[in-house]
């Protein structure tokens, strides 16, 4: 039986859907409950960054109670980013959509959506996870400098899209990917592997001069990025180790770190 979207709270305007969903989770709201806002005045990106979320986009949060180790919660990011890619692929097959590992979605190299997981822990016990998604569906104008790095589905296909239509497809994909994330993560990795934006690209990982450069070879069984360094050594990149910036080498070393 499907759980995602069985209960939906819609608000024309919210500070942040994540905060409202978090409040509801604390009240014991069931798994799969969705909180949607027509617009967010204080949408949250990674590290507390502001997420541009005006009317026309799909801004929502899902309440989850995953039964996986805390150290594996990053899987949910990848599952959700994969679900966004597959939804776009199925509805608009002409668009070239990719995952910017681990949690952003790109169309032709421009950001169209992002995913952010917030977990609430009680000691070493997981209380709940709030999965926040932001998809630029019908956004026409982006403030500078976002206009250079972001796009929307309507801009790419040249027409408006019904938000409820896209949401219904996305929730179905999200639930399927979430189940894979819990019970068959290796299949999920196989599915998203061809859509990795950085696959086969030379990247620099790290801060300042301490960074390491290498060719992206794929993901390991836990979803960590595998780099092949110049020396031929393979190196696992785990975002938990430290703050990491990914830079595609060439084209002025463009910063491609995910997040708003």
């Amino acid at each position: 039986m499907r759980k995602f979207g069985r209960r939906i709270y819609y608000y024309p305007c919210l500070d942040s859907t994540n905060l409202t969903a978090r409040f509801l989770a604390h009240q014991g709201e069931k798994e799969g409950t969705v909180v949607i806002a027509g617009e967010q005045t204080n949408g949250q990106g990674r590290g507390g960054n502001w997420w541009f979320s005006p009317p026309g986009g799909l801004w929502f949060s899902l309440i989850l109670y995953p039964n996986i180790p805390i150290s594996s919660l990053g899987r949910i990011n990848m599952a959700a980013a994969g679900a966004v890619v597959f939804s776009i692929q199925k509805l608009f097959p002409s668009l070239s959509t990719n995952i910017l590992w681990p949690n952003d979605v790109l169309i032709e190299g421009k950001k169209v959506g992002g995913v952010m997981c917030r977990a609430s822990l009680d000691g070493k016990k997981l209380k709940f996870v709030i999965l926040g998604l932001g998809i630029n569906v019908n956004i026409v104008d982006f403030p500078s400098p976002l206009g250079f790095t972001a796009t929307s589905l309507s801009k790419e296909i040249g027409r408006k899209i019904y938000l409820s239509f896209f949401l219904a497809h996305l929730l179905k994909e999200l639930e399927q990917m979430y189940r894979l994330c819990l019970f068959d993560f290796s299949s999920l990795l196989e599915m998203i592997h061809p859509f990795l934006y950085l696959l086969g690209k030379l990247v620099k990982v790290g801060i300042d001069q301490d960074g390491i450069s290498g060719l992206v070879q794929g993901l390991d069984e836990e979803g960590c990025l595998i780099l092949r360094l110049e020396s031929g050594v393979q190196r696992k990149i785990d975002l938990g180790e430290r703050s990491i910036h990914l830079r595609k080498i060439g084209e002025k070393d463009s910063l491609i770190e995910s997040g708003c």
């Binding site: 990011n77 917030r118 938990g240």
Partner: protein, 146 residues
């Protein structure tokens, strides 16, 4: 453990205000306890060498720690004391905290993990800095329970 050192620890323990002390070294555990309501055997100051007073200090700190709740990191990641770079820290030293209150956020694999207080009390000490990498089980906060 060397018997002489153990003897010294017992003497210091008896002279201290501690009621219980547990020491574990190389798989051997020593548990010292006093009967409640009974005055310490040696209430007077022990004639102490510098080394002895150092040992006593360590024991007192350990003893004090026992009365505190230690909040530890449940995972490897980067710790943030505020929800965003512009925000004020979630908690400061001497702040009152309640059960469920968010103390800090640890980012790992781009998941923001909110670490919450399991007790009501007051922040005694903050053992991490904003943006610092943390290891599994690393001590983050000391909370004096109410």
């Amino acid at each position: 453990m060397d018997l002489k050192i153990l003897q010294k620890i017992i003497e210091i323990f008896e002279a201290s205000s501690l009621w219980e002390l547990e020491i574990e070294e190389k798989g051997t555990r020593f548990h010292l306890s006093k009967k409640r309501g009974k005055e310490p055997l040696f209430p007077q100051q022990l004639p102490s060498s510098p080394k002895q007073s150092e040992e006593k200090k360590v024991l007192e700190i350990e003893g004090e720690k026992k009365k505190l709740t230690v909040v530890r990191s449940p995972l490897v990641g980067t710790v943030y004391r505020a929800l965003s770079p512009e925000d004020k820290p979630l908690v400061k030293a001497r702040d009152k905290v309640v059960v469920g209150q968010t103390l800090c956020v640890i980012e790992a694999m781009k998941v923001m993990n909110e670490i919450t207080s399991e007790v009501n009390g007051r922040i005694k000490d903050i053992l991490i800095k904003n943006g610092q990498p943390v290891e599994y089980d690393q001590e983050l906060f000391l909370i004096k329970e109410h």
